[in-house]
């Protein structure tokens, strides 16, 4: 191993900065999963009958399924009976009316995570629906949004206030039969966010949700649903980070996006769940199903993700290009270090005519990590003149990590154009030395090179998120180079 590989590794060995445990008392139901648990969750949330029925169908279907094993990731078997499927902060019943009513300890926790809710309210113009464990504890800017008919609230609240919308759209993009983790989520999902943009409305601010995992061995099963009516626009930000934990924690979220005619949904994620320690102990299993449906003509869905956390990431934000001329985009940075494993990518299903998709995926692997891009571009017979462009770049730091690319193309229409480009490079000694010679500290040099490598993706993020993401990339590689 060369000298600089050694330095690289030293920088990578930096402890997770957001690791700590918050002390808010949780109301947790006993471990285990059966129909009674599903009924209990539904009852605790005072859900309408249709939702309970849907959960039960999902649960029964889940029982017939087995965990997928095709991804390039390895972990000990998960005992689904050893997980508690519901927990809520204690002060939930009274429900805080404003941030002042929120548990100060909780606020302090967010503060440490660099999520100053109060400042955000004043400065950034971002509406925050903060999910702590499974129940929303703070929602801001709601009134302002309501003036334009925009609904942005916790999923539970939407179930109470707008059951007809939930019934119409829930599971319409990701049916509970879709995959093992989606079925599980459908049966036991705890909370999440709901967002509805009425016809012709351009949402005046970025909508954002911060997720965290807290109570020990409590799985997190978030459910997000975004509906954009014809001609509307919304930019949705999702960011998460988690406290240091010794046990593996399962996170199986489902996100469904629906874009009707001429609507545009931009969905950005910065994911920084606890990745485990440097030997791979602990860390989140992040098994997420994210899918958008360009249901109307000329609609557009853009996924942008920066994935730096989790012990295991299994995630393929996809777009169904159903409407004619609809556009799907996927911009991704996946960074893995130490023993992290990521198997992530996208699927673009071209169904409508003149549909277009763009995939830009950047993988950065360091330490002993394994980083796989897995993508599917499927062009149906009906998709006249569909076009796809895929670019997949891998950057390796050190010589013990792995980068893999699994691009799949299924093209049933001769008029379609599908292009794929892929590169793999090592962070070069020459680049590092060049920057050091200009007075840049090694860690900053690594951060600069990596951010440069990811620029195409980072520039797709909303400004304040891009800054956060850049820092995160630097932090995630600290202690790793030289």
């Amino acid at each position: 191993m060369s000298n600089s590989d050694q330095q690289l590794e030293d920088i990578l060995q930096q402890d997770y900065q957001h690791g700590f445990v918050s002390d808010v008392e949780s109301e947790t139901i006993p471990k285990g999963l059966n129909e009674d648990v599903v009924r209990l969750i539904s009852a605790k949330k005072n859900e309408p009958e249709f939702l309970l029925e849907w959960r039960l169908k999902a649960f029964r279907h889940w029982l017939t399924m087995t965990e997928p094993n095709w991804a390039n990731v390895y972990h000990p078997p998960i005992d689904y009976q050893d997980i508690s499927y519901y927990s809520a902060p204690k002060d939930k019943k009274d429900g805080p009316k404003s941030l002042d009513e929120v548990d100060p300890e909780l606020l302090a926790t967010y503060e440490k995570l660099g999520i100053p809710l109060k400042e955000q309210e004043m400065l950034a113009g971002v509406a925050v629906d903060a999910v702590f464990d499974s129940v929303s504890v703070a929602t801001t800017f709601k009134d302002k949004l309501a003036e334009q008919g925009i609904i942005f609230c916790s999923f539970s609240e939407a179930v109470q206030e707008h059951p007809e919308l939930i019934e119409q759209y829930l599971g319409s993009v990701v049916p509970y039969t879709d995959n093992f983790f989606a079925a599980l989520n459908s049966a036991v999902f705890s909370d999440g966010s709901f967002c509805y943009i009425p016809k012709g409305v351009r949402c005046p601010m970025e909508l954002s949700t911060y997720f965290r995992i807290n109570a020990a061995s409590t799985g997190q099963f978030e459910r997000t649903l975004v509906v954009a009516e014809p001609g509307s626009y919304v930019s949705y930000l999702e960011g998460c980070t988690a406290p240091m934990r010794d046990e593996n924690q399962l996170h199986a979220a489902v996100v469904e996006l629906i874009a009707l005619e001429d609507a545009h949904i931009k969905y950005s994620t910065v994911q920084n769940w606890y990745p485990g320690d440097k030997d791979g102990k602990g860390g989140i299993y992040n098994f997420v199903t994210k899918r958008g449906d360009c249901r109307g003509n000329n609609s557009k869905i853009s996924w942008t993700q920066v994935e730096t956390g989790s012990a295991i990431t299994w995630k393929y934000p996809s777009v169904i290009l159903r409407g004619d001329n609809s556009v799907g985009e996927f911009y991704s940075v996946a960074l893995t270090n130490n023993r992290q494993q990521a198997d992530t990518g996208t699927k673009m299903y071209h169904i409508g005519k003149n549909t277009r998709s763009t995939i830009i995926a950047k993988g950065i692997s360091a330490g002993y990590s394994q980083n796989s891009y897995r993508g599917l571009v499927k062009v149906a017979k009906s998709a006249e003149h569909a076009r796809n462009f895929t670019q997949c770049d891998s950057l390796l730091m050190g010589d013990k990590c792995g980068a893999h690319t699994f691009p799949y193309i299924e093209n049933k229409n001769a008029s379609a154009q599908v292009e794929h480009e892929a590169t793999t490079s090592k962070i070069s000694d020459d680049q590092l030395f060049y920057l050091q010679q200009r007075g840049i500290a090694t860690e900053d040099a690594v951060s600069m090179i990596v951010n440069g490598f990811c620029k195409q993706v980072l520039k797709e993020l909303p400004m304040e998120f891009a800054v956060e993401a850049q820092k995160l990339l630097g932090i995630s590689l600290e202690g790793s180079v030289g």
Partner: protein, 249 residues
């Protein structure tokens, strides 16, 4: 300013520098010439602290301090600048962003605040005019897609902004057209002062016509085998190296 004593260095078990002695005083310009593969770039890299090269013997003193073990970024902030023979491309990193980060790193070391954005832009634009560089280069990725000559000029821009105490220029003249050579030479001369020292690695007399060296050294097989005045360079231009290398052998 720079005092190199019995410097030996190896890379991947290959012994390349075999006892270099060099003493450069403030205000001086030294030229280092020598056959391909003799160790000139290695020497330049070792002076700048590249860690893939290991110093096995000897030491490097800069301004009276032993800097043999100092990290490359520290040397840079102390005022050691290396213009690379082959400047590397850094995709996605803005040229002006790097320039500013480099200048601020140095200012921080000196206890100065970060440079004001407006002042900085004025400064950079002024220097670019002197180097006859197109301003659009500022917003391109560092060296990415630059022509050979553009890369060399970009190195000179960085040097002009950083105002090093010791500038080591590794074949900055190679690959420059005739006009560019003149412009770059003016840039080097503009930096000449009684507080600064310049080490020029070159193969050609032409640069030395513009930037007149105080001392010329011949490096061969990892050692300085001959030193002289600027007339030595002219002699080399006419007769090549064999007469000296034979003399030594």
């Amino acid at each position: 300013m720079l005092n190199v004593k019995n410097l030996h260095a190896k890379v991947e078990d290959k012994h390349i520098l075999k006892g270099i002695e060099l003493n450069v005083k403030p205000g001086e310009v030294h030229a280092i010439m020598g056959p391909n593969g003799s160790g000139k770039s290695t020497f330049a890299n070792v002076l700048a602290g590249r860690d893939s090269y290991t110093v096995t013997e000897g030491l490097i003193e800069f301004e009276g301090q032993d800097m043999t073990e100092r990290a490359p970024e520290e040397r840079a902030r102390d005022g050691v600048f290396l213009a690379f023979q082959y400047p590397v491309e850094i995709p996605g990193v803005n040229n002006i962003y790097l320039l500013k980060a480099a200048l601020n790193a140095k200012r921080k070391q000196q206890g100065l605040p970060e440079v004001d954005a407006f002042d900085f832009l004025q400064l950079v634009k002024g220097k670019m005019q002197e180097l006859k560089m197109d301003e659009t280069m500022l917003y391109r990725d560092v060296n990415t897609g630059f022509s050979g000559g553009e890369k060399k000029r970009n190195e000179m821009l960085q040097m002009a902004i950083l105002e090093p105490k010791l500038a080591i220029l590794d074949e900055t003249d190679s690959g420059l057209d005739i006009d560019a050579l003149k412009i770059v030479s003016e840039g080097i001369n503009a930096l000449r002062s009684s507080e600064r020292a310049i080490v020029l690695v070159t193969h050609y007399q032409r640069l030395l016509d513009y930037v007149k060296p105080d001392v010329v050294h011949v490096l061969s097989n990892g050692k300085i085998i001959k030193s002289g005045g600027s007339e030595l360079a002219q002699q080399l231009e006419q007769s090549g190296y064999s007469w000296i290398t034979d003399e030594v052998a």
